[in-house]
């Protein structure tokens, strides 16, 4: 089988493949996965250091959980979450999640900036994996302004 323009086709394919896999080899040897900082006053005060569900569940499913909370609160008006262990929580990103997970001084989170609320707990992982949550264009850190 004859191949026309073989050279340019092969070069093109190689280039294409290199570009396609760029993120993988670019990330080789990069920084290790960050450990999100749990050292906040609210968490320190907890007797049992546990989120609304256990750590493994939260790691894997926090996004789904947040979406479910959002829909439950906004669309059905249910605001109380009954956790697996029977404990009840108010479903609120600003008033429940961030009560514990806000751990940078409020001054740094000037609400006037669009990028605001670099909530360190969320951001440490999210910037590592390059996933930008779009929560903070509306939701704000609770401490300031309260």
């Amino acid at each position: 089988m004859a191949m026309y323009n073989g050279r340019s086709i092969v070069t093109g394919l190689v280039l294409f493949f290199a570009l396609l896999t760029f993120p993988f080899w670019y990330g080789l040897g990069a920084a290790p996965a960050p450990e999100p900082d749990l050292n906040t006053p609210a968490i320190q005060k907890l007797v049992e250091k546990k989120c609304v569900e256990n750590r493994e569940f939260m790691r894997a499913n926090h996004m789904e959980l947040l979406k479910e909370w959002r829909n439950a609160v906004v669309r059905t008006g249910n605001r109380v979450y009954i956790a697996g262990d029977g404990k009840k929580y108010e479903m609120s990103l600003q008033n429940t999640c961030l009560d514990c997970h806000a751990n940078i001084p409020p001054k740094q989170v000037k609400t006037t900036s669009n990028q605001l609320s670099q909530v360190q707990f969320c951001n440490s992982c999210h910037s590592y994996v390059g996933v930008k949550p779009d929560c903070w264009t509306c939701h704000i850190q609770p401490k300031e302004g309260r």
């Binding site: 479910e68 959002r70 439950a72 906004v74 669309r75 059905t76 008006g77 249910n78 605001r79 109380v80 979450y81 009954i82 009840k88 108010e90 479903m91 600003q94 008033n95 609400t111 006037t112 900036s113 669009n114 605001l116 264009t137 509306c138 939701h139 704000i140 850190q141 609770p142 401490k143 300031e144 302004g145 309260r146």
Partner: protein, 258 residues
């Protein structure tokens, strides 16, 4: 493998993937994971009576307590231009609020007087009818609610609302909020917003912020479905009017003007 059978299998796979979310919904655990706040105020059809007579007679001329309370509670920005103004509750002259009541010999008691206006939380809302994503919808307690996560900013609801109750975020509102209420979110550039009848306060067992803020109790809030509620009592006793009732949207805000 035959091309035909490959396409067939591929098609079925795609179909299966498409059905996956549906299956998930049905397979999902239906245990009661969510509940309403036990303190939440129960209501089937919230409504408000705005006693403007009381406001005009007893209130201080420049009083804006209700407006301030609402706008502070809900992080409503002060954009500072008429063009891009965002407001949940404000006043309009009597003649502009009730254009069909306007005539040359209006009583001095109403002539040019400011009337409090906000979302009418219509029982037959045209904004809900036109929204292409159900971002604005009617709750079972009659509140016309907005899901700011879902709004695409087409502004069809603004065209459909005959009461001018809706504002659009032409730009990022954050820099225009002087005092941020950390307990409530802001909105973002590109979505429509309006009065939510303080559903977040009702859920916590509180009456709307504007009602609470009024020193003269000119705002009466309650459940239309309950014959003994405060609104029903006022409606029985006083003559009330509504904005543009002829349009059939069935507004749930009533006004006392004389």
């Amino acid at each position: 493998m035959q091309r035909r059978s490959f396409i067939k299998i591929g098609g079925f796979c795609a179909l299966g993937l498409g059905a996956l979310p549906v299956a998930r919904v049905f397979a999902g655990s239906n245990q009661t994971k969510y509940a309403a706040n036990p303190e939440a105020l129960p209501g089937k059809q919230w409504a408000m009576v705005v006693d403007m007579q009381k406001c005009w007679e007893e209130g201080e001329p420049d009083c804006t307590d209700c407006i301030l309370a609402c706008h502070q509670t809900h992080n409503v920005p002060d954009i500072g231009s008429v063009k891009e103004e965002i407001k949940w509750v404000w006043t309009e002259p009597f003649e502009n609020t009730f254009p069909e009541q306007k005539h040359a010999y209006l009583a001095e008691s109403v002539k040019g007087k400011p009337v409090l206006v906000f979302c009418n939380h219509c029982a037959n809302p045209s904004c809900v009818r036109v929204c292409p994503t159900k971002a604005t919808y009617k709750r079972s307690d009659g509140i016309i609610m907005m899901d700011y996560h879902r709004c695409i900013g087409c502004r069809y609801c603004m065209a459909a609302c005959p009461f001018g109750a809706r504002s659009f975020n032409f730009r990022d509102p954050r820099p225009f909020i002087k005092e941020v209420n950390g307990a409530f979110p802001t909105r973002e550039k590109g979505v429509v917003e309006k009065c939510n009848l303080c559903e977040e306060r009702l859920a916590a067992g509180l009456v709307p912020a504007c009602v609470e803020a009024c020193k003269h109790n000119a705002l009466v809030f309650g459940d239309l479905d309950d014959p003994e509620s405060a609104v029903r009592k006022v409606l029985r006793a006083r003559y009330t009017i509504q904005r543009k009732p002829d349009l059939g949207t069935k507004p749930k805000i009533y006004y006392i003007v004389s």
